[in-house]
Amino acid sequence: MKSFLLIAKREIRLLFHNKSIFIFSVVLPFISILFFNTLLSEGVARNLPIAVVDLDNSSVSRNVISQLNATPELEVSNQPISQLEGENLIQQLKVYGLVTIPKNFGSDLNQGKQVYVLNQYNSSLLLPSGLEIKAVNRVIGELSAGLNIKKQLKNGVYIKQAKVNLQPVTSNNHILSNPYTNYSYYLNSGFLTLFFQIFVILTTIYCFGTDLKYKKGEKLYNIGNGNLLTIILGKTLPYTLWFYFVGLVMYFSMFVFQDFPLFGSKWAVLVALLLLIISTQAVAIFFISISKSFRESLTYGSGFAAISLSFSGITFPIFGMPKVLQWLSQIFPFTHFFELFLDQTQRGFPLFYSIKPIIILVLLTIIPVLLVAKKLRNLLKQGSFLQRI
């Protein structure tokens, strides 16, 4: 116990002496929380510029343009005179889509002929192009439906019946978890917690790495009386507590400042935070023990932390990855944390379904440390990494 306190005290002293650790554990976490909370504060993209080529120039076509302009997603920013010019605007990334209204659009429509509208979009940019298709489809669909109903009314059909004739089956869509399809809820849940994880892993590697780089491992080993558990706890526990506080600030920014959905158990969300911190620290210890140098452990650690975003399935579902990577994704603590986090915040699942990720996170904390315990002991006895660089 005494040696534990000695190491912990030494660690806190180091924190204020080592500029890098101070920056990673104190300064940058708050900057990242500020950055992500303010970057996507809108959450939903509005007024995406599109171009409309109006080859008809009738009152009908102008109505189409103003309807497009009236949607919250779109804004008709350019009206090029030819399609070629419009396509160039897309290539210059000045507009996200190009809607072409053909010649004789209005007169054909009045004669009862079927007309078409051409929508060209740019899927090189997935998000805006998705919004553009949705908005243009909706506008044109509504215009078309309006004309259909008008025609029926002229034939003496009642409005109620006309609607049924247009749409015998309607669909009532309920959006679960993220009712406004707010991108801030979606992306920031991932980015904020990912960056939090990065800082935990970097700090842990730094706090062991600086000791080992400057040949202080043996000293540490002696203070700890050779008890590995005391050393590990003494070195990591101050940071566990500190990062728990940082994590609470992060949660505050999400759920109070930004009003993220929190439908599940608050206690589970708090437990998830603790599990994320300790499992990440365990991974960091694993990387320190297997590396030949400080630099190498940092490379592994930061690479592991950065890529865990993709493996968590937030950008592209794990379900859609090649089978090998689906298995691989299970060794990342962040994957399980993120599942637990989403289930207990946005999805609001019963607690029973979160027991599995909790157990896995506990296992992922214990196993990496057990795996390298012997190596770490030798490394500390040795006092420093094999290589300086």
Partner: protein
Amino acid sequence: MKSFFKKYQQAKTSFWNTVSTEWKAIKYDKAVISAFFSVAFVILIVYTYIYSNEVIHEVPVAIVNQDNSKASRDYISMLDASDGIKSISTYSDLQQAKTDYFAKKVMGIVIIPKDFGKDIRRGRQTTITTFADASNMIFYKKVLVDVSVTTGYFNAGIVIKKEMAKGNSIAVASQNYSPIKIISTSLFNASSGYATYIIPMLTALIVQLVLLMGIGIINGSRREDNLLQKNFPELHHNGGAIPVLLGKAFLYSLIFAVILPLQIGIVYTIFSIPIRSSLILIYLFSVPYLFSVVFLGIAISSFFKRREDSIVFLVLLSVPSLMLSGLSFPTEGFSNFYQQLAKLIPSTPGMNGFVKLTQMEASFSEVLSEWNHLWLLALIYFWIALITLKFRISSEKKRNQSPI
């Protein structure tokens, strides 16, 4: 004239000196070599492999069929035939479907109401209820889009059949049903594939990451050992830093002249991501991008005390630069402050230009604005790098002179 010539000769020597010193530093530093090659290739390949399926197919969706009529079964089989959804219709009530949703066996629920078939035949409107989980946008869009498209076709089928029963031809019926048709075409990335979308962006981003890391490691170890003066004595001369900076930029550009075609040629070909540009245009476009990143790297690395510090760039700069580039989330959604901040990062115009060239078949004149932007950034960071170099050499000199 003679003094000018002498200056030129001097600059030329120090230029080639820099190139050879820097090359040696790279060659003998395992960390830098691994940064250049392992990060540039391994990370790119891993990411591409993660996204290599491009789109998700057959998302399981629970169907609660409360009707059990022929019409409802038709609807379900239409839904099942759509590319994105696999319908599982073994649920007798909503509770059962919910349990499987909690267990993540299904990603959405579709309820077909009682009297679905009867109502359609009687000419009454009936409503299908869907639940889609928006905590993951990709699943959500897949479920929602496929259900609405199926419903749209199902409706059109019913209405057109009715019209034809009245004696109208199919052409007239379809024309009456939807007076305005919409033809949607994607100009690029026709299948909206995820790898095709993100890999070109990552390729350009990785250039910046790898360069910043490499330069940071080299300069960090020079700083650890106080080697700056010894390696680059010309920095003491008046204007001596200019050939040093140019020499470094030249060398790193040469290295990337090898890495870039390898990246594009191997990774893009293996995972069949389109390349719609010639190598020469990519080279031409990369020159100011590489220059600006090199100068930025030199300027930033003077803040690092240790060589390890620069590695964190890999992780800390990647996501913010990706977000700020405006390619993943449209810049229109950012506040003015972030829009301006984005312009200061070389990767913003770099990624935009690279995506335009390789994916959107842009001609060089269409990336000219990014190209000019990059030259401007290169110029700005050149000056900043010049100042920091001067500052560092004088502080190092002081440290070496002061008796310890």
